[in-house]
Amino acid sequence: MKAPSGHALLLDRGNLKRRKRVNRVIEVTSTIAALLAVAVLLIVVGSVLLKGLGALSLHFLTTPTGLFGDTSGGISNAIVGSAIMVGLAAVMAIPVGLLVAIYTTEFASPRFGHAVRFVLDILNGVPTIITGIFVFGLMVEGNKQSGFAASVALAIIMLPIVARTAQEVLTLVPANLKEAAHALGIAHWRSTVRITIPTAAGGLLTGALLAVARVAGETAPLILLSSIYGQGVLTEPGEALASIPIFIFQSSESPSPDAHTQAWAAALVLIAFVLVLNVVARAFYARSRKRMGA
């Protein structure tokens, strides 16, 4: 155990009144700091609600964006494009991320598993704009922008999030469950698929949902990979697709107040989706941890 170092006598420090005053100042400061963080959240979400709600209508949600400068349209093409790109990314990243987690927790030697985890952490720290440059060089250069290229970039961003949360959840699965399966002579793959994964399902879902929430708002790689798109609702991933983040970004850079109003409304759609996903994910995680007795 580590003892507080080098402060022989706490009692020996000035008079009590001063110590209590210092204590009070710190307590008040800490409380203000926490209030400030909550206040900033409320102010940002409140701004989005206040300014976006007025422009949000069925028309806005079901009409594609108009030509440049025309703010009579909506974001149906962006909603569809975002759904396609995020959906494709999820289809790629979630199975691969889960497999990576299975490898490091079930098969790899501790040393090698540790190394893979380390690489995943570094990959998680790569700025998303750099991931955008990577996929640009891989798929867009000498070719053209596409929704598919964007979904590959989003999948790379999702991968470490899915894999790391899955690893953490899989290591929480009680060892006696796995050992019981082994004692019954059940093959390793079968016990993994039938026992380990179902036990951890809630937590695995959490990681997947959080990763989806994270990339749904991702903008930087999309600027390089899917930002110049045609009119109307496009659904072909071989073409560049519209997306909600790019719509917000482009409208926010416009000087027109009407475009700003549209940006707020789109932000409201995005923030609602992301926050709801976060709340659901947390609920699953809490339930899953309880089930595994952690």
């Binding site: 507080p4 701004s47 299975i102 990959l123 720290g125 700025p127 990577f134």
Partner: protein, 329 residues
């Protein structure tokens, strides 16, 4: 475990066909997935160097110190953006780290038990807000407040300092730094809070028993115990701040020169790439942006490696878990 089962010939012969295929299949597939993750990391480094190579051979290492970004003469340098990244991230870290420690103290030591979880969740939610929305908010809400209130106030109080000179402006280094602060505070807080929660209560109670006030207990027990975690979390936050492209691009104003005044518009490496890469004209501009990206990538990797090492060493040193247990974390 598994090697033992396979090693026994009797057991091996009894295994069904699906099991004989299933085990190596799952091992192979999952190994392949792990290899894919590693390949993605290697591919990112390779591809960024590849795209940057014309600029690397044209400007060499002098790129880093060249204070110019001129698409007309095709003379590009990283200095204005290195400066912008350093200034905005440093301010964000200086504001966010103490703030995060204070919030964590509140959440672990001060808040009534039934408030802890809701407040912690709200702070976490702040981290979930997409950065493009923070940027939008920065342009339309924070920017005007900076221009009308905060920057004039700073100027009247500290106007003698060159960093607070010049005209207040809605967009610039300071606005970007504040947006980054909002972005990284919840990230740093979530780690420091967790570290604070691991401080053994017998140590805390010991300090109280010696007559320490709450703050003295925090200063003498919680903070020293959590030092590695705090430093690691702050560096992770720093990594996020240097890498943020969109929100910064929205509020920093996009100037391509170094300016001492924090009110002035500027640029960061990530923001410059975000705003110019798409459709960059000329033979050297795109490679130069990728060169910026390469510098950014090196920063991000170094920062992350350092942060993980610190956090890990802290875990080994301070916790009661054995080495293998800590390895498994």
């Amino acid at each position: 475990m598994e090697a033992g089962a396979l090693g026994n010939p009797v057991l091996r012969a009894r295994r069904s066909l699906t099991d004989r295929i299933g085990d190596p299949l799952l091992r192979g597939l999952s190994g392949l997935a792990a290899a894919l993750a590693v390949a993605a990391m290697v591919g990112i480094v390779y591809e960024v160097i590849q795209i940057a190579s014309p600029a690397i051979s044209a400007f060499g290492i002098g790129f880093v110190t060249t204070n110019d970004w001129n698409p007309v003469t095709e003379n590009f340098g990283a200095a204005p953006f290195l400066y912008g990244t350093a200034v905005t991230s440093a301010i964000a870290l200086l504001l966010a780290a103490p703030l995060s420690i204070a919030i964590s103290i509140y959440l672990t030591e001060l808040a009534p038990a039934r408030l802890r979880r809701p407040v912690a969740t709200l702070v976490d939610m702040l981290a979930a807000i997409p950065t493009v929305i923070l940027g939008l908010w920065g342009i339309l809400v924070l920017g005007p407040v900076m221009h009308d209130t905060i920057e004039p106030a700073l100027q009247s109080a500290f106007g003698f300092l060159p960093i607070f000179s010049g005209d207040p402006s809605a967009f610039g280094y300071l606005t970007a730094a504040l947006i980054l602060t909002i972005m990284i505070t919840p990230i740093i807080t979530s780690v420091t809070r967790e570290v604070f929660e691991t401080v053994p209560s017998d140590l805390k109670e010991g300090a109280y028993a010696l007559g320490a006030t709450r703050w003295e207990m925090v200063r003498e027990v919680v903070l020293p115990y959590s030092r590695a975690g705090i430093v690691g979390a702050s560096i992770l936050g720093l990594g996020r701040a240097i890498g943020e492209a969109i929100a910064v691009a929205q509020v920093i104003g996009g100037a391509t020169a170094i300016n001492v005044s924090l009110f002035h518009t500027g640029g960061t490496m990530a923001a410059q790439i975000a705003s110019q890469f798409q459709g960059a004209p000329g033979a050297l501009q795109k490679p130069s942006l990728a060169y910026l990206g390469l510098i950014l990538l090196v920063f991000a990797v170094v920062v992350n490696v350092i942060a993980r090492l610190i956090v890990q060493r802290g875990k080994l040193k301070d916790s009661d878990t054995t080495l293998t247990e800590a390895e498994a974390l």
